[in-house]
């Protein structure tokens, strides 16, 4: 059942990302909703959930991107998994911690993309970092924190129910 929900989520997020998200681009950079979704689910649901959703999102994103067919699968799956590991070792999830975590994972993911493009020199690397990596990390972190604050009440209720059941 959970897999179906994640599949549905991926089927909504990726087309939304490709068709409508350019209206909210900042300096030509859009937030990576796939990564944000995978990390949020990883932070709050665990590394397996983050990994599964990340792989699904990455797979769909790779189909609709000009890049190699593995790169989104690896980065989104890895991002979700890392977020799950981080979430497991955290006693209290706060928006600040989540924002910082998302920014770090987004930076790591972008660095993989940057190096997969075989930059010609250090100048091109720095340009990629300045123009895309940092902007996207900030954007992803903001969007993730916003979504977390929006749905926090529901997630905390779920946690209370789960803890009560345990």
């Amino acid at each position: 059942m959970k897999f179906l929900i994640y599949l549905l989520l991926a089927l909504i997020v990726v087309p939304f990302q490709t068709t409508l998200l350019h209206y909210v681009s900042l300096f030509g950079v859009r937030p990576d909703l796939g990564l944000v979704a995978a990390c949020l689910v990883g932070f709050l649901g665990g590394e397996l959930d983050g990994l599964i959703l990340g792989l699904l999102l990455g797979c769909f994103q790779d189909m609709l991107s000009a890049g190699d067919l593995w790169i989104n699968v690896i980065t989104k799956g890895g991002g979700g998994f890392l977020a799950g590991l981080a979430g497991r070792h955290m006693a209290h999830m706060t928006p600040a911690v989540l924002t910082a975590g998302l920014a770090i994972i987004s930076c790591l993911s972008s660095v993989v993309f940057l190096y997969s493009m075989n930059p010609a020199g250090i100048d091109e690397v720095w340009m990629g970092v300045r123009s895309t990596v940092l902007v996207q990390a900030g954007f992803d972190a903001m969007v993730g924190a916003g979504l977390y604050l929006l749905f926090r009440q529901r997630w905390s209720d779920d946690r209370m129910v789960t803890e009560g059941a345990l």
Binding site: T18, D32, L64, S65, A66, G67, N72, S110
Partner: protein, 293 residues
């Protein structure tokens, strides 16, 4: 008594004068008309003051009545009119959009008729899923005969080439992406080179011979050496030529001919030359004849 007599006499005199005036008016109409006009001018001036005052009062009353007291149906009428305006605005926008779409389709059709290539029209339905590639999604895929490495153009010039396809959609790598390379030729000097995208969102013509006289303003077109594009499609204009000491080649920055951020419809080149199938068959026949002992 004397006063009343005098008053009586004055009254009689006045009656006689008025009677004379009436008779004169009756008997001499044109002269009397002139006289009346002469007298009427200043009288009219005097009359205009109270007339204007009363008129403004009347207007005020009328406005008060119509604007405040008789508004029972105006509110509903106003709402209806606002709804009509909104509807008409929407209709107007739709019509304007239809006009621009028709103009674009006309340009595409004209280009298709003039082009030596077999083309397939497609709509841009999205952007690349990541921020790292300059790509676009088209609504035509393998079911429509689209394959990887096919060229994508507009009537203005080259857009890019197909790099990925699935059954119903395809991904175009734009000419401004650093991973894209298209064989180009400078139209004036006929110097050939490779057009690659840059990280700044433009393109660059590489491997121009050192002795070439290329300069800013020269136009670059496809050379037809790669399979995706026929010869002579516009790529862009040179904006800056760079010649570094010790380099074996020159390079030049290109401003792409097509505004890649505002694309709605494109043409996919399914066969660069119209008679490609016939040429292929001919080649096969020739090869077949050669193989025969």
């Amino acid at each position: 008594m004397a006063i009343s007599r005098s008053t009586y006499g004055t009254r009689r005199l006045a009656i006689v004068l008025l009677a004379c005036l009436l008779v004169a008016l009756f008997l001499l109409p044109s002269q009397s008309q002139r006289l009346l006009q002469y007298v009427g001018g200043p009288l009219g001036q005097i009359l205009s003051v109270p007339l204007a005052a009363f008129s403004s009062i009347d207007q005020g009353i009328s406005e008060t009545w119509n604007g405040y007291l008789a508004l029972q149906s105006v509110h509903e009428e106003n709402r209806q009119l606002r709804r009509d305006i909104e509807f008409l605005k929407g209709q107007n926008n739709q019509l304007r959009e239809s006009v621009t779409a028709t103009q674009r389709y006309e340009a595409l059709l004209k280009f298709t008729q003039q082009s030596p290539s077999q083309t397939l029209a497609a709509q841009v339905i999205g952007r690349d899923a990541t921020n790292w590639y300059r790509g676009m999604l088209l609504n035509k895929g393998e079911n429509d005969g689209v394959r990887a490495e096919m060229g994508v153009v507009t009537p203005a010039g080259v857009v890019g080439r197909i790099v990925k396809t699935n059954s119903t959609s395809s991904v175009v790598l734009l000419v401004t992406d650093p991973n894209n390379a298209i064989a180009g030729v400078v139209q004036r000097t006929r110097d050939e080179g490779i057009v690659e995208g840059t990280s700044h969102g433009r393109a660059r013509l590489k491997y121009i011979p050192l002795l070439s006289s290329v300069q800013a303003g020269d136009r670059v077109v496809t050379s037809g050496l790669t399979g995706a594009f026929p010869r002579g499609l516009a790529i862009g204009g040179l904006t800056q030529v760079e010649k570094s000491e010790g380099d074996l080649f020159q390079s030049a920055e290109i401003e792409p001919e097509v505004d890649l951020s505002k694309l709605d419809e494109v043409l996919i080149i399914t066969a660069p030359y119209e008679d490609a199938d016939a040429a292929q068959k001919l080649l096969q026949e020739i090869h077949g004849d050669r193989k025969k002992p």
